[in-house]
Symmetry: D3
Subunit: 132 residues, 6 copies
């Protein structure tokens, strides 16, 4: 069963952001390989794989939350990639982040926009970004 959760989680992670995800998993291999396993099983195998909320809405929720918390820039960038990968437009990502000015203040929104700017530039550099 754990194996099923792991495989299901890995599939979901690939769907959201395979490249960034693999990098995170690899970076844990020496210090906490079990945490890499738990990260695939619980967030991606248990939560993201649930029916009841589409993946695009899930990524909007994460981008909103990480922008508001303001203390997890690397993970925010991963999920801005993720949001774009599962169907959000760049405009939608920018709107979600701008809206956080209302709930977490202008500095949180500004830092979220700067994270988005880096992600967009990164994708432009790779010529694999057809989002508007």
């Amino acid at each position: 069963m754990d194996n099923i959760r792991y495989l299901r989680g890995w599939e979901k992670l690939k769907e959201i952001d395979g490249e960034q995800g693999e990098r995170v998993i690899a970076s844990l291999s020496d210090i906490a390989p079990d945490f890499a396993k738990l990260l695939i099983e619980f967030p991606f195998g248990d939560i993201y794989s649930r029916p009841g909320l589409d993946l695009k809405s899930r990524e909007i929720a994460v981008v909103a939350a990480l922008t508001a918390l303001g203390n997890a820039a690397p993970q925010l960038k991963v999920h801005i990639h993720g949001a774009l990968n599962v169907g959000c437009s760049r405009t939608e990502v920018v709107e979600v982040i701008m809206q956080m000015a209302v709930y977490a203040g202008f500095p949180a929104a500004l830092n979220g926009l700067f994270a988005a700017k880096e992600v967009f530039a990164d994708r432009d550099a790779k010529k694999n970004a057809p989002e508007k």
Copy 2:
């Protein structure tokens, strides 16, 4: 122009949650009436009225952010009402909140679920809750 922003904001606030919104505005009338005006103009007149992101996605973003921050229970409840009013199902609201366990921890998600429980009971008591 300010008048236009105010009117546009008030219409948007009514669309999201007229009843709860009026209560908040009224509660500010003695201590900070200008803040009530700014609250209608900026969040609702400027931000929520922008094109580029549908209202249902905006409410998902707020429910996610306020659950994650965990320090604004009254406003979270207002926006759980708002999410249901603009087309989210109860299941979608519950899924957004559960997902926050991944980004802000289980206590934040638990307290978000208890807020949702109160809102659902409140709506059931008023027999005006056809959401599933």
Copy 3:
């Protein structure tokens, strides 16, 4: 396998705080029964059940973190009970909370101490509190 995680988690939760734990699980039964299952499986079945850190140290870590975050009073109280149940003295709990004044400020520490005061009184009322 999931069944094993659930059973292992439930045993661990009972060891830490059976009474409080059952109450939390029960309170989720109508709104998000799946979350109750995930709560037993991941935190208690996966994390608390790991070797490498004794249960007393784990409870010290939680009391410290929830005091510092300052936005999850109900869960802090559950884990003050938990800390006492797995072998911390009241003095040790108070010392952990006081120390948080250094890392999260005096208001966070004060509110943590008031939570501890409630828990100690609750245990005294039940005459089942031999902690010093």
Copy 4:
């Protein structure tokens, strides 16, 4: 010397808010009397007693910070009293809290305003509030 710090702190606490301060100190007497002593010595004896920043500015700084953090309502109320006691007008207190909408979001500012509303009503009830 510790005695000097304690006496200096106690004098400063009385200047800021003797009544509220005594209540906090008393509430710690059974659970953590040493923390009451440290609370008088370090924040009030060491920090508030420093030259270089006037007491009114110090209270503006605290009201701003506790409004922004949003997780310490009891201490925010103590310092709204304190700000009024050391010379801030009610208008100034309200302006500081409103400004936090920019830095910590509208919910934080709203909850700060509701705290101020309670404090103002409390002072009005005691007929000892000549602030405008």
Copy 5:
């Protein structure tokens, strides 16, 4: 009217920190030009332009809040510049930040002091810093 808010906001921003402000506005021009407009209109045109609290007190409030939140270093630096530009001495800025050790812990205060150190060095390098 919006035009009036924009012009009033721009004047206020220049008064607080024209150079840093222009840089922030410019950095938004490609990703979210509307957010630059909102940033001038709401925080500076609506909030900072209000009577009832002097600009020096407003900057003290921001430096306190951003030090306490601890997750917006770039904006904290902008407002340390701002505080010095509108009349705070370096000593007053340092005192506000030190005081945050009481409300948000020593790490928040330390990181605030290191931000101030950078700002002071930056101003010294430009020979335009007559503050004591």
Copy 6:
């Protein structure tokens, strides 16, 4: 007496992490030398020197809290060093940080693990790290 607190604090700081501690104290010498003194006296002279909680438990509490808060990476690294210096194994440090995924979310735990990875590499480079 202050002198006693300072000396006691300095001894305690050296016991936890002399090298890192001296660096922090030195970095404050130009901007806020009084804060360096207060930092030795209150956290280390008053809090860490208290009986009632062993030093290893105290360092577990700090690593937990700073991982959960997620906005004080430099201080988290100092205390990961500290935890190892006073007897925690690397495994115990990793377990405390992993556990924070439950209370503050996976991004907080991930960033805590990356901080630990840097500290472990730093200690390996100095060949003075016999921890397992």
